[in-house]
Symmetry: C2
Subunit: 378 residues, 2 copies
């Protein structure tokens, strides 16, 4: 087995757990947020900075790397770790989300998906077997099965067909996986917002016995309440002893609530994307530092943050950089936002271990946010 997972502490009042996920490139303490390095670079960050902020694992995108620079080039470079000089764990997604959301005029059939590159319109074809070949070339520690991600909203019929196809493709991924001893293949649950379909998807995947499971097809536009409702129920369809990964969420509320429900891994471009638009994540919520009100504000971005950006720079200076599209502005806000989210998750993990996760949650979010989903143990 490429990875192993151990739950080391559980919150007595919620589904939250603290774990250790051991991979070929090191251990990851869960719950964890994974910064996204779409094109083999977490935008605006060096790998040294990622180490500084204790990023334990990063995610990179199969679809994007396949198009640029090409998976064969990455393989020739010695794999993604060597190519980008990141010696810690990496997870690659399968491109399933991107071929449907970015690829123009995609055509799905049972064999796979034909899509056009969002860059130059060139035609490409992804099948489960092809994606396994690409992900093997990239060489991440954790790789994702090729899935059909249904949009929101979608009909029950569409969601069911997509999940059934995802199940069949998951089996084909498993059957064609190239390096099962050095790469852990995760299955992806689909089923839209239909709870019985989520259960059906999970049961089929669990029978195939993957080393970990992702929850796909959430955070694709549905309201937060719908998301929480579906997530709170479908987490339990996945085995307790395996890592659970909620794909594509990166805001404090989703991370802490997902942790509450029992999710171990999260990823999203949100912290680095909003950073480049001049928005900081702070202990008091989002702060759009490009706003005129900060022009002469010589206080730190987040007075409660211990990161070097908050220790060394003022809102006025950061606003000046962001307003003038200076790379340093993108850098400093990206650094701060990732630091903020990783610290948030470190705190959540410690709170689970210390037995006060509910208090920790309440310090950051109102309990009403989560209580109605009945995931608080009686």
């Amino acid at each position: 087995m490429a990875i192993s997972f151990e739950v080391v502490a559980r919150c007595p009042d919620t589904g939250a757990r603290a774990g250790v996920l051991t991979t070929p490139h090191g251990q990851i303490k869960t719950p964890i947020f994974m910064p996204v390095g779409t094109l083999a670079t977490v935008k605006a960050m060096t790998v040294d900075e990622l180490e500084d902020i204790n990023a334990q694992i990063i995610l990179s995108n199969t679809y994007h790397l396949y198009l640029r620079p090409g998976h064969e080039l990455v393989a020739q470079a010695g794999g993604l770790h060597r190519f980008m000089n990141w010696q810690h764990p990496i997870l690659t997604d399968s491109g399933g989300f991107q071929v449907f959301s970015l690829g123009d005029m995609n055509k799905v059939d049972e064999d796979g998906v034909e899509f056009r590159s969002h860059i130059d319109g060139s035609r490409h074809y992804f099948t489960p077997e092809k994606v396994m070949e690409i992900e093997a070339a990239l060489g991440a520690d954790i790789i994702m099965a090729f899935d059909q991600c249904a949009p929101w909203p979608c009909t029950r019929e569409f969601a069911e067909a997509a999940l059934e196809r995802t199940t069949r493709w998951a089996q084909r991924c498993k059957d064609s996986q190239i390096n099962p001893h050095s790469q852990a293949l995760f299955g992806i649950m689909q089923g839209g917002t239909y709870i019985d379909l989520r259960k059906k998807s999970a049961e089929a995947l669990v029978k195939m016995d993957f080393p970990g499971y992702a929850i796909g097809g959430l955070s694709v536009g549905e309201p937060k309440e719908v998301m929480y409702d579906v997530l709170s129920q479908c987490v339990d369809f996945l085995p307790d002893e395996k890592p659970r990964y909620l794909m594509g969420v990166g805001s404090a509320d989703y991370l802490l609530t997902g942790t509450w429900f029992g999710v171990d891994m999260f990823d999203c471009v949100l912290p680095t994307r909003i950073a480049r638009n001049g928005t900081a994540m702070t202990s008091q919520g989002r702060l759009t530092v490009r706003n005129a009100s900060y022009a002469r504000d010589f206080s730190p971005l987040d007075p409660d943050c211990a990161c070097p950006v908050c220790r060394n720079y003022t809102r006025a200076y950061l606003r000046h950089l962001v307003k003038n599209n200076e790379i340093l502005g993108h850098r400093l806000l990206s650094y701060h936002n990732l630091y903020h989210l990783l610290k948030l998750m470190e705190g959540a993990r410690q709170a689970i271990i210390d037995g006060n996760f509910v208090d920790y949650y309440r310090q950051h979010l109102p309990l009403e946010e989560v209580d109605r989903y009945k995931k608080r143990k009686e």
Copy 2:
């Protein structure tokens, strides 16, 4: 006096000298290249990285900071050092070059220059007194007098009028300087490519007894041979015991040849600007890493360079970043280029001290480059 300058070693064969320039924010070992931080940020670099590569002094632009974020805001932040969190020496130029090259529809009269902002077309008026006020607000260690920079080519009449005005403005700057004990005001020599005008300009400035002198109006489009010819002669019009600053050059040949002639300080956006276009400065000359030929080149940018970029990343990876306009590509190339130039100048200084500057020059450039300008001592 805000600064002092001591020559600690001289090349016996050329005009090159090694010096120590002491400023309110620390000592600078000359000859030195000054990275340019136009908008209170050396583009793509943090101040920590500038310290890592031993940048001893940086330059920032009065024209740009006056427009964005405004010198009053910088003063309110506690001055440029505090605003940008750089605790080492800073030099600000006077805007003289920018109001003529960037400001649209500028109108010069004896009092000053009316110009339109290159950003929003708004009208502004710079006089020597106004520039002294702005530079005092910014609070750099070394500030430049407001000059009229003549273009190349220009007639003798134009060059003479511009230098005469520059001389009168230099006196007005001196008379209106606000903090002479904490900021050193440098005069700027003009005179185009007319040697006798250069001499006239220098003599007038030297009479005013500035703590340092700049050579302006070179590297404004004239051929390299013209530049070397004028520079080699006009350096000697400036006093030996004061620092000499050649404005706006940043390529290895200009830096080493300027050093040969007796220049102590240089600045230019070149290393960071070409970095953002995907070009590296290397021991073998410029390398345009975005070229297709480097797509699968897994060797370092410059095998002779010890910087972290060259130790940790391949040309193939850097090309991938640059091609995709990734901020990390701009960062890594900017870092490398500045490291390269600063190391080049550290080496030149050490060679002057060790008495082998001519050999050092020859390792980097053909001696023919400089020999014909008769600056090699007999």
